[in-house]
């Protein structure tokens, strides 16, 4: 599942993942994404932006971990170079790792393979 308030970002990452054969669900902010999770969506991987309206990425990560069946799901935070401080915070909230924007397609796929067994 891909969570970002930027439609461009959603589109670019989704196209890369779709081309690589992954099914991609999107949400434009943490609240919408969390709704999908509580509604029963069980993604293998969550890639989420940090700064979003309604619910930021870090809160979202923390909330996702509380959902049944989502304790172990890898979560990657999309960060900018300048948000390095956020990464530690994200990890404390349960995130697995991070991606630095802009994300090159090969880098994205590499990290997906790194964090998702069997991906």
């Amino acid at each position: 599942m891909l969570v970002d308030d930027s439609a461009t970002m959603l589109m670019s990452i989704k196209s890369v993942l779709t081309k690589a054969g992954y099914g991609v669900e999107t949400a434009s902010h943490g609240k919408e994404a969390l709704g999908k999770v509580t509604g029963g969506l069980r993604p293998d991987l969550i890639i989420s932006d940090v700064n979003m309206p309604f619910m930021d990425g870090i809160t979202f990560a923390r909330e996702v971990r509380k959902a049944a069946g989502m304790r172990f799901t890898p979560i990657l935070m999309l960060t900018t170079e300048s948000e390095a401080a956020k990464r530690a915070e994200a990890k404390a909230a349960g995130a697995t790792g991070w991606l630095v924007k802009p994300v090159a397609p090969e880098q994205l796929l590499g990290v997906v393979k790194q964090v998702v067994p069997g991906a």
């Binding site: 995130a95 991070w98 590499g110 790194q114």
Partner: protein, 810 residues
């Protein structure tokens, strides 16, 4: 004497000369920062190189000199006469030592005492007694590889005694090091989506991986299956940067230590595993910095090191320090190596490719670059790796990098730039071997063809072609590298002209100024050498026929001093050399008349030739314009000889002239000439080649598309009428052109297109062209032969001559 020492002595000689010259000039211009930098760099390089050998006094003395020069360079000290004396004395002493080294292979026994006094004098202006600096110099000499930890951490024992023993022996034999990693996942790591085993699966080049169970398991009832209790210890040949990249999300959970044989041996012997020692090792990769004291493992020492833990683990931060850049380079080179030898088996291939891709991404990350390759395309990955390698330009430094002073990369590069003087024969031999490699490589294409045609295996053919593609790329790079070694600057060819112009000018009573430009343009040494005679000819011509006597010049309103300009510019694969004079120029009418009088042109052509093209007539054999034969320009073997020798080199020559204003002769030569690309085709069942640069295009024309104009076959090519020559007929080979589709190779010579009717087109190929020998030597239609991979001798056509033969036959 070993080759390295011999190299050092040669280098030291040059460096000492630079230092001497620099110091003497500095005395006169003490403020010249370039001079100071130059002397400093030379001393720095000398010190660095000396560290490779067991010459501690030499290292200490050069180090002291370097420190003094560094202070001067940094403006902290003004160089005075006494200091210069001391520096000169130091380098004189060193020169004496090196003589001794040359004969005895070691420094003289007195070196220590002789150096002592000078070192003290050199250090005095710096204020201190010099003791700390001297100590650090000594330490630097003792510790050539600061990144390698001196003792193994205790957890390394998990790898097992037998493995440690075998590995220690292997590391000893190869002087290699291994990276040991301890990965201690957090108990709750699963709840961040981490799977340590999955991460470990991705560590490249793992030699041994051992999961370490907890010392005591909880009882089965209390067991929490989602609390991670396992540790992992692994040994890998992967570079620190790769590891840092892989473990970048969990740096606080891993320790990485680089170890050599001795540390493992000590671990086996039970040394170096007390608690204090291990605390020191927590500093990870950087732990070796204080290794001199590390062995005694004094508590304060260990404490200090522990005060800076994580340093090694943070190595993945995107900043390319020298050590990291070196690591990155090693990784990239390894990746390129992997890519160059990808196995055929699909799964293996994918694994190797993926690991190479990961390595390249890791290196990109460390270098702070985003050149992340497509993982599934070996070429793209290799391409990216090469780009990154360029970016990670080696910053060569002395082996004791810990004490190297400068962070200025431009300077550092210059410090390390080394020149190797190689005998020409060796380079020529290398070139020959490259040629043979090309031939052997080309054999693969024939093998592929026969695999498909004779053995019916398209799969095998394709695999061979894959191999061929890989070899082709390497061969091309190798060839370019060797070519590069052969490159010389044009200044070599221009060197003799100042003197020649001066002497000839005096002889002819003409006053001439020579201007040279583009001396730095490089070309193959064969080209440079072959350029000599034509250039002499052209310059003589300019002096003799072009430039007027001073009185004439003044009368014509010109400056009395004439000017001859020799210039070179590179133009793609070619170098363009021009000889320009501001003399009288060529009078088109006079030229045409002369050519007619000598019977070189017919009356009809005399009328037809436009003035602009008249100058070209000087290239006709037997043409000479001077009213009197002078002993300067020779006797009638003028410009036609120039043209012949330039064309032999695969070049062209042109002349342009403005009457009264001067003449320019332009030579265009290939930058290199060792390998020729030819288009291979067959005619009447035989294979021939033509140089690719004469081929404009290849077209297939239906027989009906052939027309006839003035007894000449022609085809229409985009509205242009192109004459077509039946090559088989021209060479008197029995062949009948097909009645359906015909292959025509359109060549372009001298601006004119001519088609060759051939039987079948094959492919382009790199060949080493050899001159014709034996019976065919006099046959002008061929410019040379080349050995093909299947052992066949390919005749390479001289298109121009072929057209001549065809024209005579018509």
């Amino acid at each position: 004497m070993n080759a390295l020492l011999a190299q050092f002595l040669t280098e030291a000689d040059d460096l000492l000369a630079q230092v001497d010259e620099g110091l003497l000039r500095l005395e006169r211009a003490p403020q010249d920062t370039d001079l100071v930098n130059g002397v400093f760099r030379a001393a720095h390089t000398l010190k660095g190189s000396s560290g490779l050998f067991d010459f501690p006094e030499l290292t200490r003395l050069t180090h002291a000199a370097e420190d003094l020069l560094d202070a001067v360079r940094g403006g902290r000290l003004d160089l005075d006469a006494a200091m210069t004396d001391d520096l000169l004395a130091s380098f004189d002493l060193i020169r004496g030592w090196l003589v001794h080294v040359t004969s005895a292979g070691r420094l003289p026994a007195t070196a220590g005492t002789a150096a002592g006094g000078l070192i003290e004098r050199l250090r005095r202006p710096l204020g201190g007694s010099g003791a700390p600096a001297a100590a650090s110099a000594a330490a630097a000499a003792d510790a050539p590889a600061p990144a390698v930890a001196v003792a193994a951490p205790r957890w390394a024992a998990a790898l097992g005694g037998q493995w440690l023993e075998e590995t220690a022996g292997w590391l000893e034999a190869t002087s290699a090091t291994l990276r040991l990693v301890r990965y201690t996942p957090d108990e709750d790591c699963y709840f961040r989506g981490e799977d340590p085993l999955h991460l470990l699966r991705q560590v490249p080049a793992v030699d041994r991986l051992v999961p370490v169970p907890p010392a005591a398991w909880p009882s089965a009832d209390d067991y929490d299956e989602y609390a991670c209790l396992l540790d992992f210890v692994l040994a890998t040949r992967a570079a620190p940067v790769e590891l840092a990249y892989l473990f970048r999300y969990v740096p606080e959970q891993v320790e990485i230590v680089e170890l050599g044989a001795s540390a493992l041996t000590r671990l086996l012997a039970g040394e170096g595993t007390d608690a204090g020692q291990e605390a020191g090792q927590e500093a990870g990769l950087e732990a070796g910095q204080g290794q001199g004291a590390g062995r005694q493992a004094g508590a304060p020492q260990a404490g200090q090191e522990a005060g800076a833990p994580q340093a090694g683990q943070e190595a993945g931060a995107p900043q390319a320090g020298t050590a990291q850049a070196a690591d990155a380079r090693a990784v990239l080179e390894a990746a390129l190596h992997t890519l160059s030898a990808l196995p055929e088996h699909a799964a293996e291939r994918a694994t190797r490719l993926a690991s190479a891709g990961r390595a390249v991404r890791a290196a990109a990350h460390v270098l702070g670059r985003d050149d992340v390759p497509r993982q599934d395309d070996p070429r793209a990955v290799a391409e990216a790796a090469r780009r990154l390698l360029e970016a990670a330009q080696p910053v060569p430094g002395p082996p004791d990098a810990a004490t190297s002073v400068s962070g200025d990369s431009a300077e550092a590069v210059q410090v390390g730039s080394r020149t190797l003087k190689v005998e020409q024969e060796k380079v020529d031999r290398l070139m020959e071997l490259v040629g043979e490699l090309n031939v052997a490589k080309n054999a693969l294409t024939f093998l592929a063809a026969s695999a498909e045609e004779e053995f019916g295996s398209r799969l095998l053919a394709r695999r061979i072609k894959d191999q061929y593609a890989g070899m082709h790329r390497i061969a091309e790079e190798l060839q370019a590298a060797v070519m590069d070694v052969r490159m010389l600057p044009l200044s070599v060819a221009f060197a003799r002209f100042p003197r020649l112009v001066r002497d000839l000018g005096r002889k002819l009573g003409k006053s001439v100024e020579l201007v040279t430009e583009g001396e730095e343009v490089m070309a193959d040494k064969d080209v440079i050498e072959a350029l000599g005679d034509p250039l002499v000819h052209l310059v003589r011509n300019s002096l003799d026929h072009g430039v007027e006597a001073p009185a004439q010049r003044v009368a014509a309103g010109k400056e009395a001093v004439a000017r001859i300009r020799l210039s070179a510019v590179s133009d793609g694969d070619a170098v363009v050399v021009e000889v320009t004079d501001d003399g009288a120029g060529i009078d088109p009418g006079a030229i045409k008349r002369k050519a007619y009088e000598k019977g070189l042109i017919t009356e009809a052509r005399l009328e037809a030739i436009p003035d602009a093209e008249a100058a070209d007539l000087v290239f006709l054999p037997g043409f000479s314009t001077a009213e009197t034969v002078s002993d300067v320009s020779g006797r009638g073997v003028g410009m036609d000889a120039v043209r012949a020798s330039v064309e032999r080199l695969g070049g062209t020559v042109g002349i342009s002239s403005a009457p009264g204003a001067g003449t320019t002769t332009r030579l265009r030569l290939p930058l290199s000439m060792a390998v020729t690309q030819v288009m291979v085709f067959s005619a009447a069942g035989q294979r021939f080649g033509v140089p690719v640069d004469t081929v404009a295009e290849a077209v297939r024309v239906p027989a009906g598309g052939f027309g006839r104009v003035l007894h000449q076959d022609v085809i229409q090519l985009r509205g242009e009428v192109v004459p077509v020559i039946d090559l088989a007929a021209t060479l008197h080979l029995p062949w009948t052109p097909p009645e359906d589709i015909r292959e025509v190779l359109v060549t372009q010579v001298g601006g004119q297109k001519v088609g060759l009717l051939v039987e079948r087109l094959h492919r382009e190929m790199d060949v080493i062209l050899k001159p014709m020998e034996g019976l065919l030597a006099g046959h002008g239609a061929f410019s040379g032969t080349a050995l093909l991979g299947d052992g066949l001798v390919l005749l390479v056509l001289n298109i121009k001559e072929v057209l001549g033969v065809a024209a005579r036959a018509a």
